[in-house]
Amino acid sequence: MSIASDTITEKSGYKLHVVRTDKYKTNTLVLKMKAPLTKEDVTYRALLPYVLQSNTSKYPTTPELRSYLDDLYGAGFYVDVAKKGEYQIISFTIDIVNEKFLSDSTPLLEKAFGLLSEVIFNPKKNGEAFDSKTVSNEIRSLKQRIQSISDDKMRYSATRLVEEMCKNEPYALEASGNLQDLETITPESLFAYYKKMLSEDEIDLYVIGDIDGSEVEALADKYVSLQEREPVRLPRDTGKAVEKEKEIIENSDVKQGKLNIGYRTQVAYGDPDYYALQLFNGIFGGFSHSKLFINVREKASLAYYAASRLESHKGLLMVMAGIENANYKQALDIIHAQMKEMKQGNFSDEELAQTKAVVKNQLLETIDVSRGLVEILYHNVISGQDISLDEWFTKTERTTKEEIIAVGQKIQLDTIYFLTEAEVQG
C-alpha cells in the first residue's frame, strides 16, 4: 500500500507541493487559486479562467495555443471553478506525458511550466484590458453553461435545494456565477479583477509524477513569480442552527420527480468528530450497502438512485433520489425513518465494519488518480489543517458506534426540495 504525501515549500506568494510517484505515464501540474465566495466576485471568478485559457500574448488565438499543446504530445490543459465550503477555487491543470515513454525525448516538464506561466502571467491584452473579442466569446459561452445547469434537472434540483437552504449565506452562490452579473463585466473590469486575484488569492501549486524535487523547485522559481500576500481565511463556520424546517415543492415538466433533502451537521473537515460523520453518512446513504439504497431502492423499489453525500467544509449532508411523482410521501417517510434509525444507533457492527472498509477503499482509490490526490491534499489548505492520510485512516478505523450515534444527535433536517410534474397532495 502506498500512501502519498506532499512535500510543501513556502515560496513567495504561494506554496509549492511536490508529490513523487512513478505510477503514472504523465506528470501533472495543478495550480489552485482560492478566495472567499462573494456576491461581488463570484461571476468574475467563474469567467476569468476561461478567458485565460483561450489564448495568450505568445499564442494569440485558440488554434495557436491548442496546436502548441498538441505538439507537446497532446498535453491536457483544463480549467475548473469549484465551490468548497464558502470558498471559490479556480484550478488550472496541465497533464503532460513523461518523455521516458516516448521515442522522442524532449524534456516536457519544463515546457509545461512554461505554458502554465504563459497562460497565467502573460494574457493577450490591450493596455489595462483583456482582448475584447475573447471576453465577449467567453461571456457568451459561460451564459450557455449557466443555462445548461438548469437544463439538467438532476443538477438543477440539487442547486435549488442549496439556494433555498442557504439563503443569505455565501454558500447559496453558484461557482459558475450568474447571468445578471455576467451582463455587467467588461474587458477592463475583468482585467482589474485579474490583477486583484493574482495579488490577493491564496495560491498552491501541486506537481505530481516521476520527478526530481530540486528540479521542480528550480522550474517553479524560474516560471512562477508572485508577490507576498496575507490570504483571507474565513473563520470556521458550519452555518446556522435550523430554526424551522422548510419544504419546497416546485413544478416542472419532468417525467421523474427529483427529491433533494438537506441537513445541517455542524461538523466540518478537521473537527474531531468528522470521521464519525463520514461513517454516519456511509451507513446512511453513501454506498450500495447503505440504508437508503437498501430501503428506498431494493426493498420498496421506488428509485434507481437514492443516496447521500457530505459537503465536508460547510458541514452539510445531502440526500438525493429520483422517484415517481406520486411516491413523494412514501419516499420521504422511508428516508426519515432511516435517519431516525441512524440517530438511535440501529445499525449493526457489521454495517459499521463494512462502511469503514469501503470508506478506506474509496480514499485509497481516489489517491491513485493524480487529480484525486490533489483534491484530497487540498482539504488541508481549505480548512487550514494539517491532517495526514495516515491520520485519516487511523482515526476512521478507531471510530466507535457511540461516536457515530453522538455525531448523529447534531444532525438537523433543514430543507426538503421536490421538483415534480404534478401537484403534490400534502
Partner: protein, 428 residues
C-alpha cells in the same frame, strides 16, 4: 500462460485461455493501491435476435433484456452481492453497452477474495418471479431518469434517425412497456446462451501477483462444470445504407438548444487491424476538422455557433458505425448548415493537411498514454478491442503509420448526403 511485453510503454500483459474457453488477461501495475477486474460477456443490447442454446429457430427477446439481466445477476437467494463486496471493502458495479455486459469491482485489499466473488456471482444466476417484478420499478425509474436528460435524448434521437432496422437504435435499457414483459425464464434463456465462459473475457489490472492470480482463476474454472458450447448465432436484418430519417426535433424543457449531427458509416463488417485503422483514422479526421487547434473550430466558436460542450466521436463495431458531432448551440440551424458545409468540403481535402495530421497524431498518442494511467480505461477498452479482434496496445503503432491519403480516403468514404442526419432538442 503467455507473456506479451510492450517495451516502450513499460507494460507486460499476461494471457491464458482456460480449458472452458474463458480468455483471461492480467496486467500488473505496481505503485497503485487499487486492483480492478472486469468480467465481460460479448452480449449487449443489440443482441435481441438469436438462436437460444439448444434451439434450432431464431427468436426475439424484449428490448432492454440484456440490461435487465445485468441488474438481476447481483441478486442471490441469500441477498445482494453488493453487500458481499462492501463487506470485503470493495466497490462493485456493472454496465451494459450496445455489445457488451461488464461486471466489475475495484478494491485496495482482499483482492483474491473479491475476485472470487466476482467470478462466482456472475457464474451463478438466481432469478425468481418475485425479484424480477420488483426490479421493474427500479429500472422504470432509471429509464425515467434518462428520459429527463436532454443530452441522452439527443444522443439516442440521432442514432434512431440513422437506423431503419439495426437494434443499435433501441435504448439500452428498453422502455417501461418493453421490460414489463420480461420473465425469469427469458432471463435464464439469455443467460444460458450468452454467459458461457467461451463468450467471456476476464481482465485484471493492479498491484497483483500474476502467478497466484492466474492459478486462482484456473482452479476456480476447473472446479465448475461447463459443456462445450458452439458460438452464438445472432441475426441482424438487412440495413439500408441511407439514414432512416434526415431530421428530428425534440421539444424539451431546455433554455439552450442542442444539436447533434450523425453520419452513418458503410462497410461496417470489419474487425481486427482493419477496424482499428478505420476507427483511429476517422477519429483523427474529426479531430483535424473540429479539434480546438483547427481554424474551423475557431470560426464556429467566434460566430457563436458552439461552446465548450461541442464534441465529436466515431465508433464502430460489428454491423454498425457512426460519427456524432454536436453540442449546445444558440443557433442550431446555422450550426447544422456550417457542419454540413465543412464535412462536404473536406471531401475535396479542405482542412486536411500534412502538418495538422502530424500534430493530431502526436496529440492522440499523448492522450492514449494518459489513458493508460487509468486501470478502468485499460480493462474496459482492452475488452472491447479483444471482442473485435483488435489489440489495444497496437494503437500507437497504427497511429504512427497513418498517412494523409488514409484521412482523405475516410472523408470520401464517410461523407454522403443521404447518410447524414440531424437531431435537435429545442425549447418548448
Amino acid at each position: 500462460m503467455e507473456k506479451i511485453a510492450f517495451t516502450q510503454l513499460k507494460e507486460e500483459l499476461f494471457h491464458e485461455k482456460m480449458d472452458n474457453g474463458l480468455e483471461v488477461y492480467i496486467l500488473p501495475k505496481s505503485g497503485f493501491n487499487k486492483s480492478f477486474a472486469t468480467f465481460t460477456t460479448n452480449y449487449g443490447s443489440i443482441d435481441n435476435h438469436f438462436k437460444p442454446l439448444n434451439e434450432t429457430e431464431f427468436s426475439k427477446v424484449p428490448d432492454g433484456i440484456a440490461h435487465f439481466l445485468e441488474h438481476k445477476l447481483f441478486e442471490k437467494e441469500d441477498g445482494d452481492v453488493f453487500q458481499q463486496f462492501s463487506k470485503q471493502g470493495a466497490s462493485a458495479n456493472a454496465f451494459t453497452s450496445f455489445t457488451r455486459t461488464a461486471y466489475l469491482f475495484s478494491s485496495t485489499s482482499d483482492f483474491e477474495r473479491n475476485l472470487t466473488t466476482l467470478i462466482d456471482f456472475v457464474q451463478d444466476p438466481y432469478f425468481s418471479e418475485k425479484t424480477v417484478e420488483k426490479e421493474k420499478g427500479i429500472i422504470g425509474q432509471e429509464i425515467n431518469m434518462y428520459d429527463d436528460n436532454s443530452d441522452w435524448r439527443l444522443y439516442f434521437g440521432t442514432i434512431a434517425n440513422m437506423y431503419h432496422q439495426h437494434p443499435v437504435k433501441i435504448d439500452i435499457a428498453g422502455t417501461v412497456e418493453s421490460i414489463a414483459g420480461i420473465t425469469k425464464d427469458m432471463l435464464y434463456e439469455c443467460y444460458n446462451t450468452f454467459y458461457h465462459p467461451s463468450n467471456m473475457l476476464l481482465f485484471v489490472v493492479g498491484p497483483v501477483d500474476v502467478e497466484s492470480t492466474m492459478k486462482l482463476i484456473r482452479d476456480n474454472q476447473n472446479d465448475k462444470e461447463y459443456n462445450e458450447q458452439p458460438a452464438v448465432e445472432r441475426k441482424f436484418d438487412e440495413e439500408p445504407e441511407t439514414v432512416a430519417k434526415d431530421k428530428e426535433v425534440l421539444r424539451m424543457n431546455v433554455q439552450t438548444p442542442k444539436v447533434m449531427l450523425g453520419i452513418k458509416a458503410i462497410n461496417v463488417n470489419q474487425s481486427g487491424l482493419q477496424l482499428l485503422k478505420r476507427e483511429l483514422a476517422t477519429n483523427i479526421y474529426l479531430e483535424m476538422l473540429f479539434g480546438k487547434s483547427s481554424p474551423l473550430h475557431e470560426e464556429l466558436y467566434e460566430e457563436g455557433l458552439i461552446d465548450q460542450s461541442f464534441s465529436y466521436d466515431y465508433t464502430q463495431e460489428q454491423g454498425f458505425g457512426f460519427a456524432l458531432i454536436g453540442g449546445d448551440s444558440a443557433k442550431p440551424d446555422e450550426l447544422m448548415e456550417s457542419l454540413f458545409g465543412i464535412l462536404q468540403k473536406s471531401k475535396a481535402g479542405t482542412g486536411l493537411n500534412e502538418e495538422s495530421l502530424q500534430r493530431t497524431i502526436k496529440k492522440k498518442i499523448g492522450s492514449f498514454l494518459r489513458s493508460l494511467n487509468s486501470p478502468e480505461y485499460i480493462a474496459n477498452q482492452f475488452t472491447r478491442y479483444a471482442f473485435n479482434d483488435m489489440n489495444l496496445f497496437d494503437v500507437v503503432s497504427v497511429l504512427e503509420k497513418l498517412t494523409i491519403e488514409d484521412i482523405r480516403e475516410v472523408a470520401k468514404d464517410l461523407i454522403s448526403d443521404e447518410r447524414m442526419t440531424v437531431c435537435q432538442v429545442l425549447p418548448k
